[in-house]
Structures are given as structure tokens and as C-alpha cells.
Symmetry: C2
Subunit: 116 residues, 2 copies
DNA sequence: ATTTCATATGACCATATTATCATATGTATA
DNA sequence: TATACATATGATAATATGGTCATATGAAAT
């Protein structure tokens, strides 16, 4: 399947596992597949699959080191990006995303629907 | 279902429809549900459902206007965010996300696996 | 060349996500 | 209040996505 790049970008990040992997690489620095697997307690093949997604959007890069493959975060764009995103999250998603977003007033559609 | 806010943030954006809606609001300005429905050629209820997701993460805001509800993009954080993201996308996802991301050399696992 | 460790790939299944339909609620007006 | 229009909601069907297993490929060493 193929998305326009903009969509693909978000689709790739729309997954806890992959985001956690990026955060790991961001904090701990370059890691091999088995490092990541161990650190996040995730199956090796699952990690590998996830990494392919991340690679496709250039969120990470790889280099071979002996038998291992070392993955790094894309410092150039991804790191600053996360900073910007954190701004939104910290400001608007502090205690998880709530529902106090009505500009004018609370509008609640209380349902009493009959199931027939 | 409930995600930690950071995950929720991305999950919400990990959907073409919703991203398209944000882009619409970003470009065309505030719109009613039926405006959006018409513009993107999507069912009213589908639009409504999507908008709830976007509201929960404060990507958009609503205000009532007569019978209509006008949705706007969150200018404060979302707009600049998109700018930053565009940087990454334009630099690394120009012609869609390709596979030329090997740092050292191309490593292709050509498969000839027998299905039995 | 064979063995071993590290990683990638494909197929398949469980599960999550989206779209659709029917219908309820909100708002305004006659 | 009755009606019409606009939007939201819930249930559920259709679909997409992610994880697992088995196994193939790569690299290095024996």
C-alpha cells in the first residue's frame, strides 16, 4: 500500500510501538535491533518490522556493524520535530486528552436510544 | 479506549481522512460539518465521527452558529506544527517515501522462500 | 563450507480502526 | 408544539494494521 507522503508520515507515527522506539533512540542513542528488542521487551521480528516502517519515512537510519545493524534517529528533522510536538501535547494533553473543548458552551447529546 | 497523550496525538493524525480535514480547515478556514462533508465528499456522520477525534486532541475547536457548528483549526499549535512537519516531508518524502535509506550500502534480502 | 549469531521477510491470525446505517439530539422557526 | 434542517451517536459490518511464527538471508568465524 502507498500513501501520499504526508499521510504516510502520520500513519507511521500512529503506533505506540514505533513511537516508543523513536523515543528510545532519541534518549539512549543508536541501538542495534537486539538492543531495542531487549529494551522494549518486544520480539525481534516485531522490532524489525517496525524499523522498516520508520526507515521508509526516514525517521531513522541504519548502518552495518559486523553482524549487527545499528539504528539511529534522524537528528536533522525528527528530533526538533518532537520538540514542537511536545509543545502541543504539554499544553493540550496534560492529563490525557479530555473533552473540555467546547468553545461556546457544553453541548452533550445524552442518549436514551431504544435498540429497536 | 485511552492512550497516553503522546500516543493519542499520533494515533489521531494517523488517518488520511482526518489529516485531510485539518488541511482543509488550515487552507480554507473555519467550516461547518456540512461544508466539510461537501468539500471532501464524505458522509456527514463520518465527518462528525472524525471531528470528535480531532476535538479530543484539541487539533480543532468548535463554536455554535445557529443550527450549524463551525470547526476551526487550532492556530496556536497545530498550524506551526504542520510547518515543521512539512520540512521533514519535503526533504525526505519528496516522491513518496522511497527505500534509499541505507547508510552504508544496499542490503536486500531477496527471497526465494518455498511455501511449504 | 559449515556453523552460529543477528536481522529481515512472508504468511497468517488476532485485533484495532474506519465506514455506514439508522436514529437521536440540538436549534430555529412557523 | 410541530416541523425541518444540522449534527452527533451507537451498533455493527467491512477493512486495515500489528504481532507471531517459521524461516530465509547476511556477516563473521571456525
Amino acid at each position: 500500500m502507498k500513501y501520499p507522503s504526508f499521510d504516510h508520515f502520520f500513519m507511521t507515527l500512529g503506533n505506540k510501538q514505533r513511537v516508543r522506539m523513536l523515543q528510545l533512540l532519541n534518549v539512549e542513542g543508536p541501538q542495534s535491533v537486539s538492543d531495542i528488542s531487549r529494551a522494549l521487551n518486544v520480539e525481534q521480528s516485531a522490532v524489525s518490522h517496525s524499523l522498516q516502517h520508520l526507515l521508509q519515512c526516514h525517521f531513522v537510519t541504519v548502518k552495518q556493524d559486523g553482524k549487527e545493524r545499528i539504528y539511529s534517529i534522524n537528528e536533522d528533522t525528527v528530533a526538533p520535530l518532537f520538540g514542537q510536538i511536545r509543545k502541543h501535547v504539554e499544553k493540550y494533553c496534560v492529563a490525557g486528552c479530555d473533552h473540555s473543548w467546547e468553545s461556546d458552551k457544553e453541548v452533550t447529546y445524552g442518549h436514551k436510544r431504544q435498540t429497536a
